[in-house]
Amino acid sequence: MKTPPLFIFRKVSRKRSGISPVIATTIILAITIVLGISLWSFANSGVSTATETYANVVEEYGKFTSDRFVVTSAAFDYPNPDDMVVWIYNSGKFDTNIQTVIVTCKGTCSASFIPLQLTGPDLLSGDMTIASHTLKDLRFDSSAKSEVFTPGETYQVQVVSETGAFQTIYQKE
């Protein structure tokens, strides 16, 4: 059998002597670790986002379930014409932030009466926050809504809080 020329071994021998097995292993490990950390960061970021989103959902759900209030009464054209007052009792353990009050006619005016949506800017004074275990009257000026309350008609008053909880009463004008 014919042996290869000696210079070939020399060449191979030079290449192998350029990087030692230890260094090579170190490089491989470093690459592995970097890749691993990158992968972990990516996965952890995704998991964190998912869990945080879910935690927020649960927290909002908790606020919703603990948001308890009752609408005790409502008066129309009071204290002034086109004004409206809603009495709300917060029976929950935390403050309730009322988002909106929707008034709908349930009597003969149901076809012509455009439902009113009353919010914070419509308040005559104060704000829409009701402290725990207190009764508060929210007084709205609905004159800008171009709808009038008709004596004898029955209206549905739906109070919606920030968490989405709502309560409804029917009140005759």
Partner: protein
């Protein structure tokens, strides 16, 4: 042949080790990440579940909570009193009270004319009063009012309305108004309990107060007067089965209301004790009508059901209520309704036995419907007729055999240091009353009426024993005393102990840490089987 070096084998081994290490690390990272994710999800699920449970509990408690709002029959001073009763199984907090003017006011009917923050904690069965209206209610036949109460859980309960007549009463409470019709079956159903109606008496508390409450004696009584122990509380007065004759006397009874309608009953002025039944056709005793007792200021007033400060309200009590719950005392003192000036006094028109019926009348506070009940009663025995409106027999208890005359009957038991009407439990059990072991206490009688005398000790369980020898004790001048030993044991001598009188220091008999016994002194029968009787109270301090 030349041997070739195996390069491929060496390189393959190195690649294998690196892949295994890398794979393990990557797998660990992935598993850890997934684990962290699931743990986070589980924690959030746990939180969500606890929130749901809390919300369900709140909903369930709100649904379970029940209470009633009763309004008074009368608007006075621009106010109407309401009663808030927790008739549910869980405690509640009444948080808000709203008064509406439904009719006759310029403001909308749906606008609360008064809102009041409350903080009334009501345990199951509790009933608390509140004044509503803020002095603004108008009595003119045209205004109609309603009171709402909101609990802290958000339940709203309304009273029945009151259209106020000019006399302050509510038109709904008369015929043709809004309240529901009378519960016809209520009295019949509850009659099973006592045979006649919804008001149940505490017969063990029946007693009589003597003499002349208001001008001489007081409530509660001390010393000379007698307190009758009851398992259900403290009644004041003599045991009314045998009372002195012709002296102004107040009969006392306790009752509670088991009406199944759940309405409170306001007793009316025509409630009374009827004693004029029997064989005699003339000179029968007058009925004894209810009076209002101000136990704080020790006064009696004319009973007036239209005045909340001069009437008795018997609140509804559940059938399974505690034995000491819901009892109220009724005082009967006058021969005419709505007065205290015509004092009632017993006399012996029926051979010493006067049968008694209680005629109880009232109004249901919730519905305004009328209530009446006739309750057959125990009889009373009246002592001999007295002269000069004073008892013929006056007795008292002394520490020594001194022969000192008893002071006036309205004197307190501590008016003289030689008088003795109470002792510590330990001293009674040890027999060191009034001082020395197995000491002797002396019953002094001011005027010797008829020998022999009998001294009887009445235990709070109703059992009695005679403290004088068989056949009685003879009282002779000048000392006019009867020596007795205050009992050391309870009423049961067969239990092997004769020093266990402290066994009455239990909740069944104790009133304010004290137990009351009765000492009864009677003289001998005359030819008509009449005799004098005199009663005193002995108090044992349990600690």
């Amino acid at each position: 042949m030349d041997k070739k070096p195996n390069y491929s084998h060496r390189f393959a081994s190195r690649r294998g080790v690196g892949a295994i290490i890398g794979g393990v690390i990557l797998a660990g990272i992935l598993l850890t990440t997934v684990l962290v994710y699931f743990i986070s999800i589980l924690n959030n699920e746990k939180t969500r579940t606890s929130l749901e449970i809390q919300a369900q509990q709140d909903d369930r408690q709100k649904a379970t909570e029940t209470f009633r709002v009763e309004r008074d029959l009368l608007v006075s001073g621009g106010n109407i009193d309401i009663g808030i009763e927790n008739n549910g199984p869980i405690p509640l907090i009444a948080s808000q009270m709203l008064v509406y003017c439904e009719l006759g006011c310029s403001n909308p009917a749906s606008q609360p004319m008064q809102t009041t923050s409350l903080s009334k904690v009501l345990n199951p069965g509790d009933n608390d009063a509140e004044s509503a209206g803020g002095g603004m209610l108008i009595a003119d036949n045209n205004h109609r009012y309603r009171v709402d109460v909101i609990s802290e859980r958000g339940n709203i309960v309304s009273s029945i309305t009151c259209t106020v007549k000019s006399d302050g009463t509510c038109s709904e409470d008369s015929t043709g108004g809004g309240p529901p019709p009378p519960c016809i079956s209520c009295a019949v159903n509850e009659g099973i309990i006592q045979g006649t109606g919804s008001l149940v008496l505490d017969f063990k508390a029946f007693g009589a107060i003597y003499p002349d409450l208001g001008s001489r004696g007081g409530v509660p009584q001390k010393g000379w007067e007698v307190r009758v122990s009851s398992p259900y509380g403290s009644a004041t007065g003599y045991p009314a089965y045998d009372i002195p004759a012709e002296l102004n006397t107040v009969l006392v009874e306790k009752l509670r209301n088991f009406d199944s309608s759940g309405n409170n009953i306001v007793i009316s002025r025509n409630t009374g004790l009827v004693v004029n039944v029997g064989k005699a056709t003339s000179g029968q005793p007058d009925p004894n009508y209810i009076c209002y007792a101000d136990t704080t200021n020790k006064q009696f007033f004319a009973y007036d059901e239209s005045n909340p400060a001069r009437r008795v309200q018997v609140r509804a009590t559940a059938l399974d209520a505690a034995p000491d719950e819901g009892w109220v005392e009724l005082y009967f003192c006058s021969t005419s309704p709505h007065t205290t000036s015509l004092n009632w006094h017993p006399d012996a028109k029926f051979n010493n036995i006067n049968g008694i019926f209680m005629i109880a009348r009232g109004t249901f506070l919730g519905s305004g419907s009328e209530y009446a009940q006739t309750i057959p009663y125990q009889a009373i025995q009246v002592g001999k007729s007295a002269a000069g409106n004073k008892p013929s027999l006056i007795a008292c208890l002394y520490k020594t055999n001194s022969g000192t005359a008893c002071p006036a009957v309205n004197a307190n038991d501590d008016s003289t240091t030689t008088l003795i009407y109470n002792a510590l439990r330990s001293n009674m059990e040890a027999g060191t009353v009034p001082g020395t072991p197995v000491g002797t206490t002396y019953v002094h009688v001011n005027t010797i009426t008829t020998n022999p005398y009998h001294v009887t000790w009445v235990y709070p369980d109703g059992i009695f024993r005679e403290l004088t020898p068989s056949g009685g004790a003879t009282v002779t001048p000048p000392l006019q005393n009867i020596g007795i030993q205050i009992p050391r044991g309870n009423s049961n001598d067969t239990d092997g102990s004769t020093t266990d009188i402290g066994s009455y220091c239990t909740s069944q008999y104790v009133v304010g840490g004290k137990v009351y016994f009765t000492v009864m002194v009677e003289d001998n029968f005359d030819l008509n089987s009449y005799r004098n009787a005199y009663y005193m109270t002995w108090r044992m301090d349990c600690s």
